[in-house]
């Protein structure tokens, strides 16, 4: 099997990050699982993983914290074979309702956070002429819908940045890959979801459809599988010796939605979205719009 790899993951306190970190450790790799608050979440992630998994504090908004972990990892292990840029959160709210600070914060974490971390590991990867950068995007990296504008903007931008980076670093044998999971049952859809302030404070003309969407989406997410498959697939990507494709949609939802998106014209896709009558995204939103009186 694959020789032990040294892997840094961001956002490893829960969800995909924790699942991938633990799966990699189970497979015998050296895992540097980073998170903002190790005191709160570190013990659960590291439990029974022994020396294979070390937890460190890292905030992707804070370049100094990134540099410190990268220096530590290089000092201790001599190399970083793979970086998994996973830290991110879901900001939900209609575009008109988004505060400038809220949008900036979404982009700072989901997009620039990944860029900062990649920039920190690249010098060592270029020097060794090898390495892998795995950016955790989403189905939302190639489609969008109501109330998901900020999140989708951050993920679409992450995809653009990944595609560019791939061209730039391939001369050094460094691979860049985007993974696109669908909705899974993780904290990102529940406790870690951030609502736009105006929506939270009941000051939104989009409140009805947005709240229906949140209820519907969380109802849906609650029934979905947890992050184990995505974690296992990320571990596969770390281990894979052969060149990786640019994008990897993972799971049933990604196969369905991105398959539709690729085969349909913009008009067809928009019509399909608008007429969906599911109780989650985006059906719950459009159903609420249809059932409400026209906005004043």
């Amino acid at each position: 099997m694959a020789s032990p790899q040294v892997v840094i993951l961001t956002g490893s306190s829960s969800g995909f990050g924790a699942a991938a970190a633990r799966e990699l450790a189970v497979r015998g790799h050296h895992v540097i699982a980073t998170m903002r608050d190790p005191d709160r979440s570190g013990a659960a992630v590291a439990q029974s993983m022994g020396d294979n998994l070390e937890v460190h504090r890292l905030d992707v908004r804070d370049r100094a914290s990134i540099d410190a972990v990268v220096a530590m990892a290089l000092g201790r292990h001599g190399r970083i074979d793979a970086l998994v840029n996973n830290a991110g959160y879901l900001l939900l709210g209609a575009i008109e309702d988004l505060g400038e600070d809220e949008l900036a914060s979404q982009i700072d974490t989901n997009l620039i956070g990944g860029v900062r971390t990649a920039q920190a590991v690249l010098p060592a990867m270029r020097q060794r002429r090898r390495g892998k950068i795995i950016n955790v995007s989403s189905v939302a990296g190639r489609m969008t819908g109501p109330a998901f504008g900020a999140y989708c903007a951050s993920k679409w931008a992450l995809e653009a940045m990944s595609e560019t980076l791939r061209f730039e670093v391939s001369p050094w044998g460094i691979d860049v890959v985007i993974v696109e999971p669908g909705t899974q049952h993780t904290g990102a859809q529940f406790d870690n979801m951030v609502l736009a302030r105006r929506l939270r404070e009941g000051d939104s003309p989009y409140a009805g459809p947005c709240n229906a969407l949140i209820r519907g989406h969380q109802g849906y997410a609650g029934q979905r599988p947890g992050p184990r498959t995505v974690g296992s697939m990320i571990a596969d990507l770390v281990e894979t010796v052969d060149p990786l494709p640019l994008r990897l949609p993972i799971g049933d939802e990604a196969a369905l939605v991105l398959g539709m998106r690729a085969r349909m014209s913009d008009e067809e896709f928009e019509e399909a979205m608008r007429t969906m009558d599911n109780d989650g995204f985006p059906g719950a939103y459009f159903k609420a719009v249809r059932s409400e009186a026209p906005p004043s």
Partner: protein
């Protein structure tokens, strides 16, 4: 999380089947793990999973054995929520030299075998207006290639059956889905019985390229991961409450190929495949054809 499901898996002695049985058991589901030889293979599978994995003798080529196994499972567990048709065999060798017997055998196991088990399980699913049938196809269910004609034929056929069955069982809310793993490091690619007789006996006119392909595919499998991700994806599909898509490719190679194939014309695809020379499928075959020609 998902309610505990009762899942019947065929071909559970090793590979995807065994890994999926364990993954489902770990998630709290009840697994009827069927295999041809439980005396030999069940103890290793159920170790640590007693009371969650129930081994059962079943040969997908034997209709009466299937019927008995399904009846026993329904008696014991009351229902079968999901059927995973995983049992399958591989076959390497040029189409020109596959014997009737060899072709019949792979179709009997990979295609008719799945249909037999579906036939045994579907009545109880229809009675409950609920159920899932997950057919383990392959990247070879999406694309053909040299020296794998028999295997691809069986998997293309399984895809067709999946698609037809999906329409037929939809009125009873029974979902049917095909999964398409790529090259995964499992026992299937390491046995030595899967080549056709002419290749095994060293008298094939396609000997060099076919042997190179088998060797290249095994080398590729050794570079790749074991079945954990396929198992986890299959367990997800068992648990998912929402409607499933018809096809779910699994793994970077299968996802890439399903995307590329969908975007290319037949001519473009053929040009792309025949340009490959790297170790594995189909590069190893074409490289030897280019270097040595065929016999």
């Amino acid at each position: 999380m998902a309610d505990p499901q009762v899942v019947l898996i065929t071909g559970a002695s090793q590979g995807f089947g065994a890994a999926t049985a364990r993954e489902l058991a770990e998630r709290g589901h009840t697994v009827i793990a069927t295999m041809r030889n439980p005396d030999r293979d069940a103890p290793a599978l159920i170790e640590g999973y007693t009371g969650r994995i129930y081994p059962q003798r079943l040969d997908v080529t034997d209709a009466s054995m299937i019927s008995a196994a399904v009846t026993a499972a329904l008696d014991q567990h009351g229902r079968i929520d999901a059927l995973i048709n995983n049992a399958g065999v591989s076959l390497f060798g040029a189409v020109e030299e596959i014997t009737d017997e060899e072709l019949h055998h792979i179709l009997d196991v990979n295609v008719v075998g799945a249909m037999r088990v579906i036939g045994a399980v579907a009545p109880s699913m229809r009675a409950r207006c609920s159920g899932k049938i997950i057919n383990v196809s392959s990247m070879a269910g999406l694309i053909g290639g040299p020296a794998v004609g028999g295997y691809c034929a069986s998997k293309f056929a399984l895809e067709a059956i999946t698609e037809a069955l999906r329409y037929e069982l939809q009125p009873w809310s029974i979902q049917v889905v095909a999964v398409e793993p790529g090259v995964v490091n499992t026992e299937m690619l390491h046995g030595n019985l899967s080549a056709i007789a002419s290749v095994r006996e060293g008298r094939s006119r396609y000997q060099g390229p076919t042997e190179a392909l088998i060797k290249g595919l095994r080398a590729a499998a050794n570079r790749r991961q074991g079945p954990r991700s396929v198992a986890s994806q299959l367990a997800d599909l068992v648990e998912i409450a929402e409607p499933l898509p018809l096809r779910v490719p699994i793994g970077d190679d299968a996802i890439r190929i399903s995307q590329q194939r969908g975007l290319m014309t037949d001519d473009e695809w053929e040009g792309f495949l025949t340009s490959l020379r790297d170790e594995g499928f189909p590069g190893s075959y074409f490289r030897v054809v280019e270097e040595q020609g065929v016999g």
